[in-house]
Symmetry: C2
Subunit: 344 residues, 2 copies
């Protein structure tokens, strides 16, 4: 039992959380989005957008890779940090074999860990980056995730040319990538702790209603985080889920209330913030691992930096499935990771 | 700059490695394989095998999930550790959206990080587990990976019923899953350090010659590890790559020799060890994230435990691609992670 061990593990057995002794900072971030996101309510806040959503590429997959690279370059540039000075990169996306990430970050030549946590991946990447910095494994890490409407429709649903009708419970995959430089250099936002999610499966099988599939996981992680840190929703200015959307949010409110937590007043959802429900025809809201990432970078972090919000719980949510798994009749379990961010 | 930071980062800038101050142990492991692996040269060493490769399931994907669960249960059982006592699980597989892992480890209800590093994933999972333990984030972590011949052929090539002819450079995906309990409880094998790989791309595009695609990444990680730790191949009893196979090994020998390192005498490859070249019709050798994992569990760890080998460099190798990426003409870059294991 060494000193490091005692220092970091101030949570009891059964805890899923880490309360960092030395809190890593989010030094900088970059956000890159497509045209629909640029026309949405947060449109003016993003660093970069592209009108034809191709970012100079010929395929949706390459476009997504280019977004990831640009988001990383933006985050590095804002902090005046060279790629060589980043110890490790933690990244992922929604595509099979995480190809958007592999091809996207290749040019940066940073030693890398590929991740998959569906739309929760931005939480997973931030958690691991923070854990690596707090452990002293390097002065700075890069966390990056992305999604692209075109590549995601092709991956999970139908070719865009098919113009399939979408049920009202379906989400609109966000075209976007967010990158975060996490490190020991002081900024005005630090990562106080993380709550790592379990897979939560209520047996739902409707891949076109991901909000319902993910809400139980969001509930589980939010309540576990409150318990692990001995807090109530009142200890947070906001509790912000990734992409539950309108349907998932209602279910989350019900589920948390039944467990004795009322988060209604504090809750926001990135999937609801990023598109205009009335004018943008995005049904249940935005989704994809780009959704929570770009909303964090462009909308949430500035409010923490200015001190408008003092402390938030950021909870990206993911629906675990593939075309093979749901065609074979498997359920769609969810996972959610909690990241506690505070103004400093 | 806190004590943790100074303590863990004894590598200079540009280093990709971590030399653990407090070295985590591999407390126990479990290996589960299919019938072909059970008939191979290492057949008697595996913990469990199944004659019809279905492990009680109706689909290859579910079979792979069942293997992962069994491998975890075996590792936990050998150490008399309950799943609840494991802080975090790091796991992955080759299937789109890592579905074998999500469905496989769900029942264990351990907070989890999903990973994707192609066939290098067992190295990635071991590296992150060791990093989490050494940082004091928990007393024990579980690292698990798998691959399945049936699900991998379906994912990457053709339906098995199609009986497509395979080129001689092709690998045979190993049906197998290996799980490792990494923690602070003393055993006879500890993880001295890790070298995290970069994506290395020599522009090769032949997904049916993965050995050639991965060999440059293996070379890069092996030499970087030697440089970071100030060592030569003579400091290791063995340098064991994941699944380069017969073709990849020859390329690795050439590439390392050109860089001034001769590893010929010390080199082994899990993909060459697991099948009999003459009688099992497996062409270039075994592959898949199960290949390195089950070989480590069943063949390598016992030699380290007994002290027959004092120190080895274990280097799982991955080819980063998807059916979409190679159909769109993208190259197949490689990645490899180095894990230094020593007898104690």
């Amino acid at each position: 039992m060494n000193q490091q061990y005692r220092k970091n593990t101030d949570c009891v057995k059964g805890s899923q959380s880490i309360h960092f002794a030395d809190k890593p900072y989010i030094i900088s971030s970059g956000s890159v989005v497509g045209s629909k996101e640029a026309q949405g309510p947060l449109g003016n806040l993003f660093d970069m957008s592209d009108e034809d959503n191709l970012f100079g590429a010929k395929t949706w997959e390459e476009a997504e890779s280019n977004m990831q690279k640009e988001a990383c370059v933006l985050a590095l540039g804002k902090a005046h940090v060279e790629a060589e000075a980043v110890r490790y990169l933690f990244g992922g996306d929604l595509l099979r074999q995480g190809i958007a990430t592999s091809m996207g970050v290749e040019a940066l030549q940073i030693p890398m860990f590929g991740l998959y946590g569906a739309c929760s991946t931005s939480g997973e990447a931030l958690a691991l980056s923070a854990m690596a910095v707090a452990a002293g494994y390097g002065e700075q890490m890069l966390a990056v995730t992305s999604s692209h409407f075109g590549s995601a429709e092709k991956e999970f649903r139908f070719p865009l040319e098919y113009a399939g009708q979408r049920p009202l419970s379906a989400h609109w995959t966000v075209t976007g990538s967010g990158a975060f430089l996490v490190g020991i250099r002081k900024s005005h936002v630090r990562i106080e702790g993380v709550t790592v999610g379990k897979i939560v499966d209520y047996g739902l099988k409707d891949s076109q209603n991901m909000g319902a599939c993910m809400a139980p996981a969001a509930m589980d992680t939010i309540i576990k985080s409150m318990e692990d840190f001995g807090r109530t929703p009142l200890d947070y200015d906001k509790i912000i889920t990734g992409d539950l959307g309108y349907i998932g949010r209602e279910i989350l409110m019900d589920l948390t209330r039944k467990r004795g937590y009322d988060i209604q007043e504090r809750h926001l959802d990135c999937g609801m913030l990023i598109f205009d429900r009335d004018s943008q025809d995005t049904h249940a809201g935005g989704s994809g691992c780009g959704c929570a990432a770009v909303t964090l970078s462009a909308y949430i972090l500035p409010k923490l930096e200015s001190g408008e919000w003092k402390r938030i719980l950021f909870v990206p949510t993911g629906a675990l499935m593939s075309t093979v798994s749901y065609n074979e009749g498997a359920s769609v379990p969810g996972i959610a990771h909690g990241i506690i961010l505070e103004h400093c």
